[in-house]
């Protein structure tokens, strides 16, 4: 059974239908990609899947549980984390603090008004470890606002990772990155994909085709193609629509 399923999602804004009868499913421990031109509805789709918007019709299920319309915080607590395309960091906080807030043990301490967070060595170690995995070791005490773009991108993903999710949604993670950084990001994703289900929205087809087990193509608010990268290369829609050439 797929770990995550969306069935017949329908979403409109005003009189514009953005998602029309979209069904997707993601298998556990696989990396799935979502692709499509701008304005196709993939961002909206992502937002519906992660709880930012409620679908007008349709159901979303995680591990069999119906999570349609659940608020983001409840979805997060089930073990689903996401990163954002337009970076969503805590700019006044250091890299360590950014990540620390997502650690489940810290989240459990949430309403504790008297404890000293500095004494929570286990959580701090976990946070430092996540920073190391994304390549930010040594930058723990740098304010997030002072980091260059590439490192901010890494931090963006680190926050999602720190929550120890079962399912990780990445929203255009290569956005604005040069080829070196993109390659490093691909390595990172390969390193973490072991016990994790990952769903990636991407523009960069080379990146996605190199990593994904299956890819869904969304255009005009609908899923117009679905399959492995090989199958999609042969797909006439993918070839016809201006999604770029593959090396």
């Amino acid at each position: 059974m797929p770990i995550f399923e969306a069935q017949n999602l329908h979403k409109r804004f005003g009189d514009q239908v953005v998602l029309e009868d979209i069904s997707l499913s993601f298998e556990a421990n696989r990396l799935a990609g979502i692709m499509g031109p701008n304005g196709a509805g993939k961002t909206t789709c992502f937002n519906v899947l992660t709880g930012r918007y409620k679908p007008d019709r349709g159901r979303v299920r995680f591990q069999g549980k119906d999570i349609t319309g659940w608020p983001p915080r409840s979805i997060a607590r089930l073990g689903i984390a996401r990163s954002f395309q337009t970076m969503s960091l805590f700019d006044e906080y250091t890299a360590l603090e950014n990540v620390l807030i997502a650690v489940p043990e810290v989240r459990a301490l949430g309403f504790h008004g008297l404890r000293d967070l500095g004494a929570e060595s286990q959580s701090i170690d976990k946070a430092s470890e996540v920073l190391r995995r994304v390549g930010l070791a040594g930058l723990e005490y740098k304010p997030a606002s002072s980091l260059p773009y590439g490192q901010r991108r890494a931090l963006e993903i680190a926050i999602a990772l720190a929550a120890e999710p079962k399912l990780l949604f990445l929203d255009e993670p290569t956005s604005g990155l040069g080829s070196d950084a993109t390659a490093r990001l691909a390595d990172l994703i390969r390193a973490i994909r072991q016990d994790l289900t990952i769903v990636v929205i991407e523009h960069d087809m080379r990146f996605l085709f190199g990593l994904a087990d299956t890819i869904s193509v969304i255009h005009w608010g609908q899923v117009i193609a679905q399959g492995t990268p090989e199958e999609l290369r042969a797909n006439k829609w993918v070839q016809a629509s201006n999604l770029g050439a593959l090396a």
Binding site: S88, Y93, E97, A102, G110, G113, L117, G118, Y141, I159
Partner: protein, 340 residues
Amino acid sequence: MDRLGARLRAWVTGPMLLSLAVFGTLPLWIEQIGLYQYLGVEIIIWVIFALAVNLLLGYTGLPPFGHGAFLGIGAYAFGLTQFNVIDNLWISLIGAVVVTGAIGGVTALFLSHRRGIYFALMTIAFAQIFFFIASKWSNVTGGEDGLLNIARLPADFGVAAFDLSSNIELYYFCFAVYTVLVVLLWRLVHSPFGKVVRAIKQNESRVSFVGYNVYLYKWVVFTLSCAISGLAGALFAMAQEGAYIQIMSLQWSGIVILMILIGGGFVSFWGPVLGVGLYFIARDILGAYTEAWLLWFGLMFVILVMFKPEGLAGIWQDLTRRFEARGPRKRVNLGTVLRR
């Protein structure tokens, strides 16, 4: 030994001890500089109120423009408890805190889903509504005349009792309240709860996506801020020996916002303290030369928002940072980071 030091530093800091020293000795020197004892009482009560408001403004990033209403509610609740329940100091203080906290909690139900302009204007609306109730419900509140003859009840600890009728005695009681509060509040803003709240200020949406119930956190901060404001209001009722509606006006609510930003509440726990001090300096010292002192205070606020929203504490931090840059490199570790 270092562990003990670290644990101690989590609760008490240099600036805190300095403030305790300054406020603790205030009655001894305030008259030497040409001021008067009652001013000390006013200052310390406003410091408590400003610290409570800064929980919302500086730490959560929510602008409460009508919080003076809760100061007034606390004052009235204190007086009413004293008159109608029992004239015991502790019961009356608890009454003030509980009533103001409860009303704050109900208000917060409307506010916890908002921020920015909606939040600000709703706090104004509530303040005006409370002001209206206080001025019309004359049977209970005394209306325009206020609730008179509120007594400075003695502080009875069982083993010893302290009369609080003189300004100096009342001041020290307020100072004791300040001491307890400042230690607890410092710990609170540096605790996990405080960290989440400060994260909400920076990026409310992300905090929600990480799994926190942001609305609940905002509700708790607002209610807590109201409860502490109620306590300040009770002390104020004792100071004035009455509860009046003037304190609930929007002007006073606005003045505390000016105080907080000017002092540097956005970047420092002690910003509100500095701001309150500066306000009273402006009022009593500048005020001796010109009637327009509040205008100057307001202009200072506007200029600081434009050029240095970090306020006086921010300017101080810049100076000390420059000083440190020349001196030996300070070790940046987790402790220093978590205690900002």
